[in-house]
């Protein structure tokens, strides 16, 4: 297969070779063409670099160099379109001239900006699709380990939640709502990722292993944010359909910076700063804790029970139990953050280059966490064959190094936090912290090794051949090679003196791709036509190896070597898939006023069986530019455009081999012998093989997941960009999403996938941009505000639409999938209050029975949970549907957005950026756990051992008659009234965050001249400076997982303060 793939580009080269053999044929009729030289300047005579000059209705064009010069070979009657960001576009009729001196006027209009829509770049004015874009400038030099975190609040329709401050971790990113439904509670698979396309290359985002096994690195962490030229998000189907198969969740296009012609320019920039240790959560310490706990016990226990109080409360003179330790202090620290970038670019008319290299180092605020990236990128462009052939290789390499704190044990599938101090595990402050104890706790951070390295190599070769001004063939070859390695080690002391443990993981993924397409652009009278046809082929392969050994002989051995045979484990995996696609796009407009676009793509995937390999994804869109009509020609509107689109896009199942009836080798799994590192593999020493009875049915009839989306929108711009707005309404409905359905138990199989899920996301997006101050004002203020509303709803579930409770959720199953509800809705008991007295407990009027659950009657001081099924009985069992629980609350944010402000005065630039999320519910598990750490068999001891909240500040029930907010402490009542799955712990998740505040100062020209440098900028950034939130309970309303839960064990979001310098030579 690989050979075949390598064969494909060879064929293409042959084709190109055939073309280049015959230069005279290629050159066409040179006598008809003239060479135009020109200079472009501002109205005060400054040359403008990077102005785009293109021949109207063709693909032919160039850009100006640093001195504003350009050269172009065109026909004498050509019309040139001249455009640049922040300048008003112009059209120039050449009329035989060979030299041009043009002046561009500054403008706030964004109409001249270009955006990428799939395989081509067009001006914003002429798009018919819903696209959000930002330029790389907006995210430059912000202290963040990857660009996806920086997209938060800056792009309408894109919801980014930076729920963890873990350096190198990844945020959740969703475009126009979430569609991912899973039968299992899995924090790593809650929100479906959009498709990322970097420089035209769709990034493979398969995850065959979880973060507990692998390095858990953000696969986008290898892209240096300072290398990014622009980010464009294709939100609606008409734009996304060109990426067909994986576009259903939106497409995010990243374009990296390219070289510019002109004398070599060198940029050096760097910043450094600190990440601040967060404010610790309030805990009660020492004598106060003892007094409060004793008071609770005195109140709640009977005289007889009080004879057996835990020693650690009663024995206040015992040095082991008279500490006042704040355990949080052990883990948090202040971190340093450093970044350095070096880039150089330059070139001549026929070739240019840009090389950049970067270093980013962020220390976490939790011990032994951090992230380092070393990156480099080379972008070369050469024009050959008299400018007809563009050769553009891009090579990038990044090495990432992530430190993971206590190194979460790869044997423990539930634990992937770098740190754990959730309410249920924070020890009482009374335990004295002696050096041994500190060593035992911090050993996981200091003594163990957890090294996570990723290497990321990309080689792209982009070839473009211009047959004539209208027709161009483009060929993109790309090869990605990603490897990662994790070495993990735990010392003998940490393994309960059972001998040390070593673990190693390596993987290698390759992704090879070839994309060929032809574009044709022409103008026939007032009709403009642009056609694109092409074909893509992709092959992706992934291999991984893990090995581990336990009960080792020496802490010195930090590799898997020298372990006893019976404690060794090793396994490796191989995954591969192929994707073949054909696509076409036709854009037509009449007088550039009435725009139409059709897109179609068909994808074939190796993941489907023979009869269902191919999926077809069509889309159409139209736009009408009203402002170009005569009746609006001279109005305030410099642009008024209406757009509409309709189309389908698809997504693929994540498993590669669904069409095969897979068998499990080493299928033996026995109770008491199913420990992951050494489970039985055989029966009577013979390898056991059986069909994969869980989900291994051959699924030859599966077909593509498809979603249908419509979008209507309008773009407007007033007074040449003084104000601008974009509004979009959309409805995206997936009806064929794959989901597992239950099979008859008697088949032996549990589940099989079918196309059975429907999810609808509908919403509105609004972006407003303004430059409210007058042009003459010395202060310039650019402001951009965007807000997105998305409503998420499950339309179909399998097995007759039955409600589903996820497997693997915590004990108090607190989420439900239910038709008509948002994905992952909370599933809770309704808290009505606290019983003030025993007389308040309801009594069944027929039987006289008190309100009760399976373990007894409710009493004064207990929470009153609503009896939803009116049987005077609360069902306390948690696995499955519960007649006393109801779906309530939505963990999916409904409103998200941001507000950017850039204020320029003389040489100062002030940036203020807010991001916000509104209408989201959060379940505060931390609060629940703080009160229910003593519900099991050893209630009093557990109560004594774990940290409790400051009860003096809490209106907790103490005696009959109290009108309390909190129920009395649950000391082994088994009434489970402090279950976390109740509305009492639901809290609003709304927040507004002053995400970044930056101030820059550019040295004046005079000084620069003296210094002999081109440009010097000094800047400071305060990241995450302030926040306002609706909830009083939550330390940080964003620091909440994608299921809308806060459990206190996550990584806090730190404040970062950096100071930097940028110099251009």
């Amino acid at each position: 297969m690989r050979k075949l793939l390598m064969f494909c580009p060879v064929l293409l080269f042959l084709a190109l070779d055939a073309l280049s053999q015959n230069p005279s044929a290629v050159q066409g009729k040179p006598s008809n063409l003239i060479t135009v030289k020109g200079t472009i300047r501002t109205d005060n005579g400054q040359p403008i670099a990077n102005v785009s000059i293109r021949v109207k209705s063709t693909n032919k064009g160039t850009t100006t160099d640093d001195n504003g010069n350009f050269t172009l070979t065109v026909s004498p009657q050509a019309t040139l379109e001249v455009s640049a960001i922040n300048y008003a576009a112009q059209e120039v009729k050449l009329a035989g001239r060979t030299s041009l001196a043009l002046t561009l006027l500054e403008s706030n209009s964004s109409l001249g900006e270009t955006v990428i829509i799939g395989y081509q770049r067009i001006t914003r004015k002429k798009t018919t699709a819903a696209i959000s874009s930002i330029s790389g400038k907006e995210i430059e030099n912000l202290p963040s380990s990857s660009f996806d975190q920086l997209m938060q609040g800056r792009l309408s329709g894109v919801n980014v939640q930076n729920f963890s401050g873990d350096p190198g971790g990844r945020p959740t990113v969703s475009v126009r709502g979430n569609t991912l439904i899973s039968r299992d509670y899995d924090q790593n698979r809650v929100v479906n990722n959009p498709l990322y396309v970097v420089d035209g290359v769709p990034q493979p985002n398969e995850e065959y292993v979880g973060p507990g096994t692998s390095t858990g690195m953000n696969y986008l962490g290898g892209v240096n944010p300072n290398d990014i030229e622009s980010i464009d998000v294709l939100k609606d189907a008409s734009a996304a359909a060109i990426y067909g198969s994986r576009a259903a969740n939106g497409v995010i296009l990243i374009t990296t910076k390219k070289g510019r012609s002109g004398s070599p320019r060198v940029f050096v920039s760097g910043y450094a700063g600190v990440t601040e240790r967060p404010k610790l959560r309030e805990v009660t310490l020492g004598a106060l804790e003892r007094r409060q706990k004793m008071a609770i016990l005195q109140q709640e226990l009977t005289y007889i029970q009080r004879q057996q109080l835990p020693y650690m409360l009663t024995d206040s003179l015992n040095p082991a139990f008279n500490g006042n330790t704040d355990w949080q202090g052990l883990f948090y620290k202040t971190g340093l953050i450093r970044n350095g970038d070096l880039s150089m670019s330059g070139g001549s008319e026929t070739s240019n280059y840009r090389f950049s290299t970067g270093y980013y180092d962020e220390q976490g605020i939790i011990r032994a966490t951090g992230f380092k990236r070393y990156s480099m990128r080379l972008n070369l462009l050469t024009k050959a064959l008299h400018g007809r052939l563009d050769i553009n290789p891009i090579i990038s390499y990044a090495r990432t190094d992530r430190a993971r704190g206590n190194g979460t044990d790869p044997r423990d599938p539930t634990n992937y936090n770098p740190f754990s101090l959730s309410a249920g595990s924070m020890p009482s402050s009374l335990f004295a912290l002696d050096p041994n104890k500190a060593q035992a706790i911090l050993g996981a951070y200091n003594g163990s090794l957890d090294k996570n390295i990723g290497n990321n190599l990309n080689i792209n070769l982009n070839l473009g051949y211009t047959f004539n001004p209208h027709l161009k063939l483009i060929s993109l070859e790309s090869y990605q090679y990603n490897t990662s390695r994790r070495d993990f080690n735990r010392t003998n002391a940490m393994e309960s003196q059972q001998g040390n443990y070593s673990y190693t993981f390596t993987d290698a993924g390759i992704d090879a791709r070839l994309s060929n397409y032809l574009t044709y652009t022409n103008q026939l009278g007032k009709n403009n036509l642009s056609v694109l046809v092409g074909q893509d082929v992709q092959y992706n392969q992934y291999e991984s190896t893990t090995a581990s050994g336990s009960n080792g002989a020496s802490d010195q051995i930090q590799v898997v070597n020298g372990f006893r045979q019976s404690t060794l484990t090793a396994n490796s995996d191989y995954q591969a898939y192929g994707l073949l696609s054909y696509y076409g796009q036709l854009a037509y407009d009449y007088e550039s006023r009435y725009l139409l676009s059709f897109t179609a793509r068909t994808d074939g995937s190796s993941r489907f069986g023979a009869n269902h390999k191919w999926g077809f994804f069509p889309a159409a869109s139209a736009a009408w530019i009203l402002s170009d009509e005569k009746f609006l020609k001279n109005s305030y509107f410099s642009l008024l455009k209406f757009r509409a689109s309709l189309g389908t896009s698809g997504s693929l199942p994540s498993q590669n081999y669904l069409q095969y009836n897979l068998y499990n080798v080493n299928a033996a799994s026995y109770i008491g012998n199913d420990y992951t590192t050494s489970s039985a593999t055989s029966y009577n020493a013979i390898t056991a093989i059986a069909p994969n009875f869980h989900d291994g049915v051959a699924q030859k009839n599966l077909s593509w997941e498809k979603s249908m989306q419509w979008n209507v929108g309008a773009d407007m711009e007033i007074e040449q960009g003084k104000f601008g707005a974009q509004i979009d309404f959309y409805n995206r409905e997936g009806s064929l999403q794959l989901f597992s359905v239950n099979l008859p138990v008697t088949t032996g199989y549990d589940v099989a996938m079918t196309n059975s899920i429907g999810v609808r996301n509908a919403g509105v997006e609004l972006t407003i941009k303004a430059n409210p101050l007058s042009k003459s004002s010395p202060v310039k203020w650019f402001s951009s505000f965007n807000i997105s509303y998305n409503r998420n709803r499950i339309m179909n579930l399998p097995n007759g639409g039955r409600d589903l409770i996820m497997d693997g959720d915590r004990f108090d199953k607190s989420h439900i999938l239910s038709v008509g509800r948002p994905i992952n809705s909370f599933y809770l008991y309704k808290t009505l209050g606290v019983f003030s007295t025993d007389a308040d407990v309801p009594v069944d009027k027929y039987t006289g029975a008190h309100y009760h659950n399976g373990n007894g009657d409710y009493k004064a001081g207990d929470f009153y949970l609503a009896d939803l099924d009116h049987d005077n009985f609360i069902d306390i069992f948690n696995s499955g549907l519960n007649p006393d629980k109801m779906p309530i609350g939505d963990p999916n944010p409904k409103f998200t957005g941001g507000w950017t402000n850039n204020i320029t005065w003389k040489n100062f630039v002030l940036g203020i950026f807010f991001s916000f999320t509104f209408k989201r519910d959060v379940l505060n598990l931390y609060k629940a756990d703080q009160f229910s750490n003593s519900t099991d068999g050893n209630a009093n001891a557990n109560f004594a051992q774990y940290s409790t909240p400051n009860l003096d500040n809490v209106n907790i029930w103490r005696k009959p008659g109290d009108k309390a907010e909190f129920a009395k402490y649950d000391l082994g009542t088994y009434l489970y009234y402090y279950t976390s799955a109740q509305t009492f712990f639901l809290t609003p998740g709304d927040y507004v965050r002053l995400k970044s505040l930056s101030l820059g100062y550019q040295l004046p020209e005079k000084v620069l001249h003296k210094l002999g440098v081109g440009r010097v900028k000094i800047f400071g950034v305060a990241d995450n400076l302030l926040k306002w939130q609706a909830s009083k309970d939550l330390p940080d309303a964003e620091n909440v997982n994608a299921y809308g839960e806060y459990d206190g064990a996550g990584y806090p979001l730190p404040k970062k303060f950096t100071f930097g310098l940028e110099v251009q030579f």
């Binding site: 309960s496 074909q535 068998y663 012998n673 055989s682 390898t687 032996g748």
Partner: protein
């Protein structure tokens, strides 16, 4: 025109390159074998049948070793389960409705996985050609080999259904491997008579396919042979004789006769011999001379378990690192009922007698004078980390059928036939053999009922914690003396059968709840 030609050429090239890449859409798994490439050799048969046994072991031992929960724990005078929060002890009071127990012990999913594997073997193995079987070189006679594999699959299916028919009575009956499980039908429960007829049919067919004895020593007792099938048949016939009609204590005599014949085949043809009492205990480690069928669970090949039911009885005296507490314990009343640990005063001889010299008492029980005596029948502990004596596993096979069981059943059969003398001689012979006190011997003046009681005492001593005793009590109607929660009324309503986990009803509208439990779950 030349230019056009080049355009055509380029376009053509692009399309050629595209079509030649079409093969990229075929990717075969390399990380797993799959149906299309499996079932091609004798080795495949070995792996598959090992898979089938493994699934059966999983079905029988899942959730607190459920085989013993059904067969022993619910007869609550034999051992006691202490409270620890999971609610398991609830079943000892005859209440099977506690949610966690219902979800685990009331759920038959794993049994159907075992059956589905047997069905798959029965469907696929006949398709393997003689040449393919011979290709691996260690198969002399392909027909004999194929029959052996098919016979074992039939036995596994029959044994699994037999467990189910004892636990739930009526159960869905599926004897085909579906080509497409996605379109397979939901099935109702079949009457227990049909299920038992199928078990009989499978056994008779398996008996024809399997041989006596073992060619390969490593398979002794842990793989089924003809003896295993007859032992299963004996139990099936006795169960069918006594539970087909719950309203009468009189068994169906034709089935009793068939059971007798099956046991006779084992004793005459099987070549099994009882383990000498001097070596008492070997039979619980496994592969003793009296083993007829057992499930392999040996640490020799890392197949032991640290959740063996035997472990729940053990303390730090037996397992390093265990505490002094043990969740499962033997009620002193059991010991005094069976071994007269509180001596019986006999006015005739003016002496007191106890039966504590019985080899089974001396070997199987410990801490007998404590409040919570324990059972050490399964205590073959192997440490996976021998250096530190940590990570303990039990290496005791799970005994399903052994010769002692068969020989004792002959006494039960004799009693059904009112053959008092045979029953007396078997019971006394058994006591004598094990060193029991002759004071407690029976004689032929005893009534049939009293002898049945004594027979059950003997089963209770011999087969303690082997998953038989509750079923013995049901067959012999002796439950009244040993299972306080099971009244005659409840028995006649089929109240000893288990309810079905409500989870299983979710997608199956044909399924009905076990009749006794309707409205109670």
């Amino acid at each position: 025109m030349k230019k056009k030609n080049i355009l055509y050429l380029a376009t053509l090239m692009v399309f050629i390159s595209a079509t030649s890449c079409k093969k990229i859409l075929e990717q075969q798994p390399r990380n797993s074998t799959y149906l299309d490439v499996f079932w091609k050799s004798a080795n495949d048969c070995e792996y598959a049948i090992a898979g089938n046994y493994a699934l059966m072991r999983d079905a029988f031992t899942d959730y607190a070793f459920r085989y013993y929960m059904y067969g022993d724990a619910v007869a609550n005078t034999y051992f006691t389960i202490d409270y620890n929060g999971d609610g398991l002890e609830g079943i000892q009071g005859g209440d099977y409705t506690f949610q966690y127990n219902l979800q685990s012990l009331g759920n038959w999913t794993k049994y159907y996985k075992t059956i589905a594997m047997s069905n798959t073997v029965l469907k696929q193995v006949p398709k393997i050609t003689d040449a393919q079987l011979e290709s691996s070189g260690n198969v002399d006679d392909p027909t004999v080999y194929r029959n052996k594999i098919l016979g074992e699959a039939l036995f596994i299916r029959a044994l699994t259904y037999f467990e189910m028919v004892k636990i739930w009575g009526d159960v869905p009956l599926v004897i085909e491997a579906y080509d497409d499980p996605i379109t397979a039908p939901q099935l109702p429960r079949s009457p227990k008579a049909d299920v038992m007829a199928q078990i009989e049919k499978d056994c008779l067919q398996a008996a024809g396919l399997l041989q006596w004895g073992y060619q390969d020593k490593s398979n002794v007792a842990v793989r089924a042979n003809k003896g295993s099938v007859f032992a299963l048949l004996a139990h099936l016939y006795l169960w069918r004789a006594t539970t087909t009609d719950l309203s009468t204590p009189d068994p169906i005599m034709s089935d009793v006769d068939k059971a007798s014949a099956a046991i006779d085949s084992i004793t005459t043809m099987g070549g099994y011999t009882l383990v000498d009492t001097a070596d008492y205990g070997k039979q619980f480690i496994g592969r003793s001379s009296e083993s007829i069928f057992e499930i392999y669970m040996s640490e020799d090949s890392k197949e032991g378990t640290n959740k063996h039911i035997g472990m729940a009885f053990l303390t730090d005296k037996y397992v390093n690192g265990f505490g002094t507490g043990h969740r499962f314990w033997v009620p002193p009343a059991y010991l005094s009922n069976h071994y007269y640990t509180s001596p019986i005063y006999d006015p005739g001889t003016d002496s007191s007698y106890s039966d504590t010299m019985d080899v089974r008492f001396r070997n199987n029980f410990d801490m007998v004078h404590d409040a919570k005596p324990t059972c050490r029948k399964y205590a073959n502990v192997v440490y996976r980390n021998p250096g530190t004596r940590t990570d303990p596993y039990l290496s005791n096979n799970m005994i399903i059928f052994r010769l002692s069981d068969m020989l004792l059943l002959k006494a039960e059969i004799a009693l059904y036939k009112n053959d008092i003398n045979t029953a007396v001689s078997i019971i006394n012979g058994w006591r004598q053999r094990n060193g029991g006190s002759s004071f407690f011997f029976v004689d032929n003046t005893w009534s049939r009922d009293d002898l049945m009681y004594e027979y059950i005492l003997e089963r209770g001593k011999e087969l303690y914690l082997e998953g038989h005793i509750f079923w013995d009590l049901i067959r012999t109607r002796q439950y009244g003396n040993f299972v306080p929660w099971l009244s005659d009324t409840r028995f006649m309503q089929g109240g000893f059968y288990w309810p079905v986990d409500p989870y299983l009803f979710r997608d199956n509208r044909f399924l009905v709840q076990t009749s006794y439990w309707k409205g109670k779950v």
